[in-house]
């Protein structure tokens, strides 16, 4: 298979949708409509021999009739017609195809045979292929929604590779709801050609992607994935679903039964610097920190809190994960002692005893960031009703605007007033979490990412 760049696929200048439809309930309509209604600046042509116009765009009888060069053909015709369409694309010189049509290896041996033919055909024309059985992709950096995903997510630095199309869909919806920014969303489908390994390479070079998140059910070629991931210095996160012990049960030796598929995935991911997470929430909690914060050079955490309970919970959550909450330097302690009431704790975790005014949070946070024995900071605000949640939040935002050498995560606990602050944090690129455990997990991912970079000689 050709290993050429995925630019023509994921950053096309001209797209055709083969099997475009005028019927709004059909995918052939949805995909074309999504391409032309989200601000995509390239050209887009619908192909349908029997329709006149779709969304005001003139339909072409076949791909050959389209004027000018075509980078990407999105194919949504019945499975039996796909090979013929690929031949027509080949004759036209189309560079890449995205096969949304299903009915290939996912349905059985006959489908698998058809998929093999499709793969060979695409290869013979030197085309890169996404799918088959994909839900398409979104590339926010060129305002392109070449998928059935109904709404564009907000722009951001996280790119998401999903083996499950439906999960990709719900995730975008979730991202919109939680104002989480995404750059690309790619549904890989059956991965007959383009796999996670190719996409990792593409996203490593893509200036709009800072963090790569993946949902993986199974890899076709684990070695190729590892080799590709090893070269990627951007943060990588993965959910590996389908934890199966079936293989282990059939093993003939101790090693066979112990080195089950899940344990091997765990270790393989660790070796190539992919941070494995359990679920969506954890993945995006981590992604938020990884895509906005500088590297954590070590595992020493300082905790600033306006309440003792939250501070202790945060310390526990950090230490359980392997981080340390060490003593502060004398210089820092003395500095902070001057800011706090006499009965407040100036030991790490710092408890301001209910004080959370702007100046106090700002000055304390600055001193903590400056402490030579501290690698990262968690700032906690537990809402009590008589203080304002936005005051310490502004202190964090303003501090991070001024100085940014160490990662900081925010944990704001409370109800409505705290929710209003969430938007402020997101807008200002401060990773924000509603509970200390999630903030600790996010810090931990920053530390693990740094360990990989150090191990990889960076």
């Amino acid at each position: 298979m050709s290993e050429s760049s995925l630019d023509s696929l994921l950053k096309p200048k001209c797209i055709t949708v083969i099997g475009a439809s005028r019927e709004p309930s059909k995918w052939g309509y949805k995909v074309f409509h999504n391409i032309v209604s989200n601000g995509y600046k390239g050209r887009a042509y619908p192909v349908n021999p029997s329709a006149g116009k779709i969304d005001g765009h003139k339909c072409y009888a076949d791909v050959g009739a389209i004027p000018g060069a075509v980078d990407l053909a999105i194919i949504i015709v019945p499975a039996s017609g796909v090979l013929k369409v690929v031949d027509e694309c080949g004759a036209k010189g189309v560079k890449s195809i995205c096969v949304i049509t299903a009915g290939f290896s996912e349905v059985g041996p006959e489908g698998a045979a058809l998929e093999e033919k499709l793969k060979e055909k695409a290869k013979s024309y030197d085309m890169r292929m996404l799918g088959p059985n994909t839900m398409g992709f979104v590339n926010n950096s060129i305002s392109l929604n070449a998928s059935i995903i109904p709404r564009m997510p907000p722009k951001g630095e996280i790119s998401f590779i999903s083996q499950s199309g439906a999960l990709g869909l719900s995730l975008v919806d979730w991202a919109i709801g939680s104002r989480l920014g995404l750059n690309c969303v790619v549904s890989t489908g059956n991965k007959a050609d383009v796999s996670e390994a190719d996409l990792l390479k593409f996203f490593e070079e893509d200036p709009h992607t800072w963090t790569i998140a993946m949902y993986i059910e199974g890899l076709k070629d684990g070695r190729k994935f590892m080799d590709a991931a090893m070269k990627v210095k951007k943060a990588k996160l993965a959910i590996k679903a389908g934890v199966s012990q079936a293989g282990a049960r059939a093993a003939a030796s101790h090693t066979g039964s112990l080195a089950g598929s899940d344990m091997v995935y765990d270790e393989a991911f660790r070796q190539c610097g992919v941070i494995r997470v359990e679920g969506i929430e954890e993945m995006f909690d981590a992604a938020m920190a990884l895509s906005t914060q500088p590297r954590a050079k070590g595992n020493r955490v300082a905790i600033l809190s306006n309440g003792g309970g939250a501070a202790i919970m945060a310390s526990d959550a950090c230490e359980r994960r392997g981080m340390s909450v060490p003593q502060l330097t004398k210089h820092t302690s003395a500095g902070i002692a001057r800011l706090l009431p006499a009965f407040a704790s100036v030991k790490n975790p710092i408890d301001t005893v209910a004080k959370s005014d702007y100046e106090l949070y700002k000055d304390t946070l600055k001193m903590l960031i400056d402490d030579a024995d501290i690698d990262c900071v968690m700032v906690i605000y537990a809402h009590a009703g008589f203080t304002r949640a936005d005051e310490p939040a502004r202190a964090v935002i303003d501090t991070l605007k001024e100085k940014y050498p160490k990662p900081v995560v925010a944990c704001w606990m409370g109800g409505e007033e705290v929710n209003a602050v969430a938007g402020m944090f997101r807008k200002n690129r401060v990773p924000y979490y509603p509970v200390p455990e999630r903030a600790a997990e996010a810090l931990w991912s920053l530390i693990k990412y740094n360990e990989f970079l150090q191990g990889a000689g960076k």
Binding site: G222, A252, H254, T255, L258, V264, E267, A268
Partner: protein, 213 residues
């Protein structure tokens, strides 16, 4: 297929992994003669691909010090073993000194290819599953990190007056196992259980392998 222990050990020895000397025998007289030739003490073990848990079934006799004892052990073990596997025979091996028992194994994973496993032997592997793994190739540094990663590492480091085992020698076996798996694609699974870890050196005392037909 599962080759006999003698063949597996020959394969390991070829890969540079220390094993104790051992020979397949087919009669009590041959067993006794072989033992006399090798020097005492020796071990007599059942030789059958169908019997993985040899000692659980009482099919291993350790520390035999005379030709008669060896002959008797052969008769007893083979007789009992043939109720399970009519083709069972026995192997006479040099008695390895007792060391700290560890398991070193390997498995060809369908997605990631060769993987190598390390753990403490005996109940630690059976009950606690206290093992570490790596996707091969495994270099010396990775091998040492595998050893240090297990919970039972304290036992290998030496405690309560027990001296530390030769970690470098264990790392060497791990690295050579990785090399063996990378160079011989027919090996699907490999168990060296136990590998005896000594103050100086290490030796695979029992070994099994699953070879692609």
């Amino acid at each position: 297929m599962m080759p006999g222990e003698v063949e597996v050990k020959a394969m390991l020895a070829k890969g540079g992994i220390p094993v104790n000397e051992g020979y397949a025998v087919h009669s009590a007289a041959e067993a006794a003669e072989m033992a006399r030739h090798m020097g005492f003490p020796v071990v007599v073990k059942v030789l059958s691909p169908k019997i993985p848990h040899k000692s659980d079934l009482g099919l291993v006799d350790l520390n035999l010090c005379s030709p008669d004892a060896v002959g008797d052990a052969y008769e007893r073990i083979v007789k009992k073993a043939r109720t399970i596997d009519p083709d069972a025979s026995a192997v006479v091996e040099a008695m390895a000194a007792q060391g700290t028992e560890v398991i070193i194994g390997a498995k060809r994973d369908p997605q990631f290819g060769p993987t190598v496993l390390f753990g403490l032997g005996g109940i630690f592997v059976e009950v606690f599953k206290d093992v570490s793994i790596r996707v091969a190739p495994v270099n010396r540094q990775m091998a040492l990190s595998m050893i240090k990663e297990i919970k039972g590492y304290a036992i290998l480091k030496g405690f309560r007056g027990k001296s530390a085992v030769d970690l470098e020698a264990l790392a060497d076996v791990i690295v050579k196992t990785s090399r063996l798996m990378m160079s011989d694609e027919s090996i699907m699974e490999l168990d060296m259980n136990p590998v005896m870890a000594y103050d100086k050196g290490a030796m695979a005392v029992d070994a099994r392998a699953l070879i692609k037909d």
